[in-house]
């Protein structure tokens, strides 16, 4: 018998944030009547964005991003929610007057021992080959002798695909570790759409620290449908040696095996643009040097070597100065050097920020010079000025204005207003000794 997880789809959708706001209000009303101690904490981020779209239509959109957790500090059960709602104050953006999304929402049980946890609802899963949102269940626990196991299953939460029939995703990961020395995992997932195989992936992940200041990490993913490796991605971190760190990256990506299971046609490559049989080797190096506790310089290089297309490289450096709770500045220069003029640009960025009592001010400028003009424009730039003020310990107000010129807009001015409120409220009385 197969469980039809699609029933969980009804807990999401465009009305979910409105339902969440009602639920949140009810929570605030009823929590004080609980005899047990319950803690409600979270953030409310209210944004209003003003801009023009490509048809010179004025857009004024209000967004509410709400996240909260309800839990008894001494107990093991909690509830977590995150989502947003947009309402247009002037016209319709993206074809709808309003929009919303449930980012996550689940009931969680965490055991006091063995790092065991069970999450039920809309859960985010990061386990080996799986980086998913699932309407279903996620569970994990430590096992004996350094082993650990996790599993998940349910309805895949994806966009831009609407196939009839049963959609299901499930998978798991088995790991072993000696804390501080290594952690290795094997993982697998299977996703079916319309009761047919959509993804079948297996992977190995590794973190190894054989000696102090040497750290190797990475993963390899095998595509069971195309029967070949999708990618190998590994990072070697050395240092710090006299304030210098070296990060080396090596990756191999096979396009026909990596870009399967996409729900957007953007990844259905055409030979005239990108060949599906392409294979790229990426080799990168970053050298980071901390001149002082506040001043850092880094140089980075990434080389792309293709089996079909011409090679490319991206390189540059940046310098950062920052003093905690006071301010700082940064400057970065990078060059993208593809195999023809359409794939070349220079990127410059400079920023400056300062904190003055309860206020902070940020100035940020970004300039991209394209080698070949796009819509007749070679130089795209934007400058933003942001300011914020702490009205209270948990209440902050802020606004910014951005001016930009780019291939799509000769002159684009955008404003953004934000009100951020953090709450942490305890309800009920805790029994003595609990």
């Amino acid at each position: 018998m197969r469980i039809d997880w699609t029933i969980l789809r009804y807990v999401s959708g465009p009305r979910v944030m409105r339902a969440a706001v009602v639920g949140f209000t009810l929570l605030l009303l009823f929590l004080p009547s609980l005899s047990r101690a319950v803690n409600l904490s979270g953030d409310s981020n209210t944004y209003v964005q003003s801009r023009e779209d490509a048809d010179k239509q004025k857009i004024l959109s209000a967004y509410e991003y709400l996240n909260f957790s309800v839990q008894d500090p001494g107990k093991e059960v909690s509830f977590h929610f995150g989502g947003w709602l947009r309402y247009d104050l002037k016209t319709e953006e993206f074809g709808n007057k309003s929009n919303s999304d449930l980012q996550y929402g689940y009931l969680s049980y965490k055991s006091a021992s063995n790092n065991a946890a069970v999450n039920l609802g809309r859960v985010m899963v990061f386990e080996g080959v799986a980086a998913e949102r699932v309407d279903g269940m996620y569970a994990r626990t430590d096992l004996a002798k350094g082993f650990g196991v996790s599993a998940f299953g349910g309805n895949p939460v994806e966009t831009e695909i609407n196939l009839p029939g049963n959609n299901i995703i499930y998978g798991g990961r088995l790991s072993h570790q000696i804390p501080g020395l290594y952690r290795i995992g094997v993982s697998a997932l299977k996703e079916e759409k319309n009761s047919e195989d959509f993804r079948k992936e297996e992977g190995i992940d590794l973190w190894l620290r054989p000696i102090n200041k040497v750290e190797l990490m990475g993963n390899s993913k095998y595509n069971e449908i195309t029967k070949d490796w999708a990618n190998h991605s590994y990072f070697l971190v050395l240092g710090p040696f006299a304030r210098v760190r070296f990060n080396t990256e090596a990756s191999v990506i096979n396009y026909k095996d990596y870009f399967t299971g996409a729900t957007s046609s953007a990844f259905s490559f055409q030979p005239s643009v990108l060949d599906q049989d392409e294979k790229v080797r990426i080799l990168g190096e970053q050298i980071a040097f901390g001149l002082t506790d506040n001043l850092n310089i880094s140089l980075d290089y990434k080389g792309y070597s293709y089996s079909i297309a011409g090679d490319a490289k991206y390189y540059g450096g940046n310098i950062r100065y920052s003093v905690v709770k006071a301010g700082g500045a940064g400057l970065s220069l990078h060059k993208m050097d593809g195999d023809d003029d359409r794939l070349k640009y220079d990127e410059y960025r400079a920023y400056l920020f300062g904190k003055f009592g309860k206020a902070d001010v940020t100035l940020d400028a970004l300039d991209v010079k394209y080698k070949e003009a796009i819509n007749g424009v070679k130089d795209a730039y934007s400058v933003s000025l942001a300011a914020a003020y702490e009205l209270a310990e948990k209440l902050k107000i802020g606004a910014d204005v951005e001016y930009s010129k780019n291939p799509d807009f000769e002159k684009d001015i955008r404003t953004f207003f934000k009100l951020i409120y953090s709450f942490d409220i305890g309800y009920g009385k805790r029994k003595e000794g609990v």
Binding site: A116, D142, A288, V368, N406
Partner: protein, 147 residues
């Protein structure tokens, strides 16, 4: 018939076996929330000497945070709520992270400035950097051009 009996026996014994392994683990769970306030930027090695010491949030940490998250997300969650992850790793999103946090210029936030045009170049050079976030999620706006 024999195969079916083996399958049923396996399914019945699986939770017993898992329960035994769970009972034998005897590890203490990590704290649900970091017990002391952490200064910025978090330098985990100031206090920890095990694998957590490797999670120092140096300026280059963001380039490899995915490896830690895919292996050891529970350590991330001691300091970060899921909302911190979903600010960038979105299911459906209309605001760029760099628009929400213009007052945090030090953060490594994707798609600053005019990325609509720049993505035509970056996407050709390395489409695998787009895929984790836009392959199966947060791609409704891609269809405006990618039909």
């Amino acid at each position: 018939m024999k195969m079916k009996t083996v399958k049923i026996a396996f399914l019945l014994l699986l939770p017993v076996f898992a329960g035994m392994l769970f009972a034998c683990a005897k590890t203490a769970s990590m704290a649900a929330w970091h017990p002391v306030e952490v200064s910025y930027p978090p330098m985990c090695s100031d206090c920890h000497t095990d694998d957590r010491a490797a999670m120092n949030h140096t300026s280059d940490f963001s380039t490899r945070h995915k490896f830690y998250a895919s292996q050891n997300e529970r350590t991330c969650s001691v300091c970060h709520k899921e909302a911190f992850c979903s600010d960038c790793h979105a299911h459906v999103e209309e605001l760029k992270p760099s628009d929400k946090y213009k007052d945090s210029p030090e953060l490594t936030l994707p798609h600053r400035g005019d990325y609509l045009n720049q993505h035509k170049i970056d996407g050709r050079i390395n489409p695998s950097s787009c895929f984790p976030c836009h392959g199966r999620q947060n791609n409704e706006r891609c269809k405006v051009c990618h039909r």
